[in-house]
């Protein structure tokens, strides 16, 4: 796993080594093992390397035999061995054992169609000197990030936005619409970001830049061709795909570890990794001081069962508050939850333990309908068919026991789910979440609200849904929305790639193999969610690899303490500094009296509901984000050319 960056000029005026050095320096954390540059009159590429495959020979940028195809690539192509054989049969000569070279020759052989043959997680840029084009692409589910900006015909791109800002040629400015999406969906929806004029390449998309114009195309789109019955050999099929998916993701020239959450999904990946690993598996977990969030007993049980050497990072309120600014620097977006912070600490522990690749369980809940949100869809629909039935409404007590017990909400808390949208609304499944998050906007200043001009990001999402969406079942619609609005732009990014890569750790996700997605999407929804039993088919199959106790364990949502983290005694002073009326007025997004009221309640320990917890994290993180990215200069010392592992040029004099 690595970081990439680059600039393409409309006119061949050159890309300076200094610019590329600054871009690389801004994302050095993604690739601490080396770096390299390609410098040309039209295009410059930078690469920072986390060496995992072909430690000796895999430095980048890499070219084909005649130097006309140059690639800077971040990610893993898990089927590189199979593709290499195919390409060798067609006459391609390989110089390295690295998956990067498969991409170079694959592009030569198949052009953009190479993307359909890749099984992996990647983002890359290929400079085709013959065609004078830059070909950029991102994996199917958006595991690896790629951002870009266009200014005056020039094209800037990077694994993280800070690489683009480091050029000094792209200004950092707030996109109010991007922020409004963050405060609705927990993340801006690609291509939008919170930065004006800086876009995120959508998952499953590629772009071709030529002569100052960028042409975009989706090469992979989610579909749910749900069957009415399971295939007879459904468990065998799942077994074959899972074993192959994990097996391919164990391919590395360094030891592969595993994250263990205590739930079913990471127990499966850890168990299969332990079996496939030539070493004793190293596993890593998060423990919370607060027992309401802690699952360390279950994590230990899983580690014992798979025989791993297990390490734990303990998270308290103070560690969340102290790390929050650094975490935001890496997420590059305001947050509504503190949940990324423990992931940041977990990656640090992993790296300190000498492991730089981990398997994790992300994706299983989206593919196999594991989240409570999916059950909530079923229960809400069931209740709405007989709204007068209190017995039906009591299903919410089973679904959310911690909500039904934590306060005296009577019938009110159930009514929330019943009044947030009708089944005829295409966004029915997600409206409770979207509407709850949107309450933060009540803290906007009137001026900021007016500036949005009545924009409705929920209506925009509704209008953007593909035609095929309306042919899917309610649960598959919910799964699609979860994949596109949360998994890729938030979970895989703010909680995934950014937290792991902050410490140079690569996450690998066996459940996000596209073959597994296509298998799951074609199953009857009843095979995935049967009544209120989630991941039914996965549990049926998991008896082959897990003990009954672990296999049968229910889902506990991963959460971390929010508001209390920032208001415990001994909290850092910067928290108050960013929330003063002056600081709020300077940024101009949130109303000082409104935030004053929120602070009063937080300090009194009264902000216990989702609404105010999300509000304080949202306001604080927006203020911090604004301070770090919009108000501060993006000066960074360039990585020196003298220490580069690779330095290539187009043969012209190298601009400095």
């Amino acid at each position: 796993m690595c970081g990439i960056a680059g600039i393409a000029r409309q006119s061949p005026t050159g890309v300076t080594v200094d610019s590329l050095g600054r871009m690389a320096a801004a994302i050095r954390h993604r690739g601490p093992d080396g770096y390299g540059f390609y410098v040309g009159q039209r295009v410059g590429l930078a690469h920072v390397r986390l060496s995992i495959i072909d430690i000796e020979g895999g430095a980048q940028p890499l070219t084909n035999e005649d130097g006309q195809i140059v690639v800077s690539y971040n990610g893993e192509i898990y089927n590189h061995l199979e593709l290499r054989r195919q390409l060798e049969e067609r006459g391609h000569v390989f110089r390295t054992h690295c998956d990067t070279e498969v991409l170079v020759h694959g592009y030569e052989e198949w052009g953009a169609d190479v993307l359909h043959r890749l099984n992996g997680q990647f983002a890359f840029a290929i400079y085709d000197r013959n065609r004078e084009t830059v070909f950029v692409a991102r994996d199917r589910f958006g595991v690896r990030p790629l951002f870009y900006a266009q200014r005056n015909g020039d094209f800037y791109f990077g694994s993280e936005i800070k690489a683009i800002l480091a050029t000094g040629e792209v200004d950092a400015a707030l996109d109010p619409r991007g922020l409004d999406e963050v405060l609705t969906f927990w993340s801006a929806r690609p291509p939008r970001t919170p930065f004006s004029g800086i876009a995120s390449l959508e998952p499953g998309t590629y772009g071709i830049w030529k002569d100052g114009a960028l042409w975009l195309r989706h090469y992979y789109e989610l579909d749910y061709p749900e069957a009415s019955e399971e295939p007879e050999d459904v468990v065998e099929q799942l077994d074959e795909i899972m074993l192959r998916s994990v097996g391919m993701r164990m391919r590395a020239d360094v030891p592969v570890g595993a994250y263990v959450s205590g739930g079913l999904d990471s127990s499966i990946t850890a168990s299969l990794a332990a079996t496939a690993s030539p070493h004793t598996l190293r596993s890593f977990s998060i423990a919370f001081d607060d027992p309401r969030f802690d699952e360390s007993v279950f994590q230990r049980e899983v580690a014992d069962a798979v025989g791993s050497i297990h390490e734990v990072t303990s998270i308290g309120s103070q560690s969340i508050a102290e790390s929050f600014p650094k975490v935001l620097w890496h997420t590059e977006t305001p947050l509504l939850r503190t949940a990324p912070v423990p992931m940041y600490h977990l990656a640090r522990l992993t790296k300190q333990s000498g492991i730089k690749v981990v398997l994790t369980g992300e994706g299983a809940d989206e593919l196999f309908l594991g989240y409570d949100l999916f059950k909530e869809v079923s229960v809400r629909r069931f209740c709405m068919r007989r709204p007068e039935s209190l017995n039906r409404q009591r299903l919410f007590d089973r679904l959310y026991p911690y909500l039904s017990q934590q306060g005296r909400g009577g019938e009110f808390w159930r009514r929330f789910f019943l009044e947030a949208g009708q089944p005829s609304d295409p966004l029915f499944s997600h409206l409770p979440r979207f509407l709850l998050s949107s309450r933060i906007k009540e803290f906007y200043t009137p001026e900021f609200r007016r500036g949005l001009g009545g924009m409705d990001v929920i209506a925009e999402l509704r209008a953007s849904l593909p035609t095929r969406f309306f042919a899917w079942s309610p649960l598959n619609r919910a799964a699609y929305l979860e994949m596109t609005t949360l998994l890729s732009p938030y979970l895989l990014s703010s909680q995934g790639d950014r937290m792991a890569m902050a410490h140079g750790v690569e996450g690998r996700f066996p459940f996000l193999d596209h073959r597994l997605f296509e298998f799951a999407a074609a199953l009857p929804t009843g095979s995935r969610l049967r009544g209120l039993r989630e991941k039914e088919i996965l549990r049926r199959w998991a008896s082959r690899v897990l003990s009954p106790r672990i296999k049968g364990r229910g889902k506990q949502s991963y959460r971390a303490p929010d508001a209390p983290s920032f208001f415990a005694s001994g909290s850092p002073e910067w928290i108050g500094d960013h929330l003063t009326p002056d600081a709020l007025r300077r940024v101009g997004i949130f109303s000082p009296p409104a935030v004053g009221g929120l602070l009063r309640r937080c300090r009194a320990g009264l902000a216990t509901g989702f609404r105010e917890n999300q509000a304080i994290v949202g306001v604080l993180s927006t203020q911090l984000w604004h301070h770090q990215f919009i108000e501060s200069a993006h000066t960074v010392a360039p990585l020196p050319i003298s220490n580069a592992s690779v330095f290539l040029s187009d043969g012209a004099a190298v601009p400095t």
Partner: protein
């Protein structure tokens, strides 16, 4: 529901109860929207004034302020759905206790 005369604050009118609860709601749930106009019959949940945690907090306030107790099954739209509903509920309990 069980109350004794000593636990209640008898003689408070529905108007006074509404005024007191409205002040509490403004202070704790509408502090970010000072321009929000809350009518006596507005549905608190539907209008987004309170959420389920807010209801719980509001009931604790009402119990402490007016010396009444609401059983779980009484925490309903009919009794706590609006300022007027709350006032009627509290007043009825006060009358019951006093009388």
């Amino acid at each position: 529901m069980q109350t004794t005369e000593s636990e209640v604050t008898p003689g408070i009118s529905e108007t006074a109860i509404i005024s007191s609860v409205r002040a509490f709601v403004r202070e704790n749930f509408l502090y970010m929207m000072p321009e929000f106009e809350l009518a006596d019959d507005d549905r608190l949940l539907e209008k987004g004034v309170v959420d389920s945690m807010g209801i719980s907090e509001m009931i604790s306030f009402i119990e402490a302020e007016f010396g009444v107790f609401a059983a779980e099954e009484e925490i309903s739209e009919a009794n706590f759905g609006s300022l007027r509903a709350i006032a009627r509920f509290v007043a009825s309990r006060q009358r019951f206790a006093v009388g």
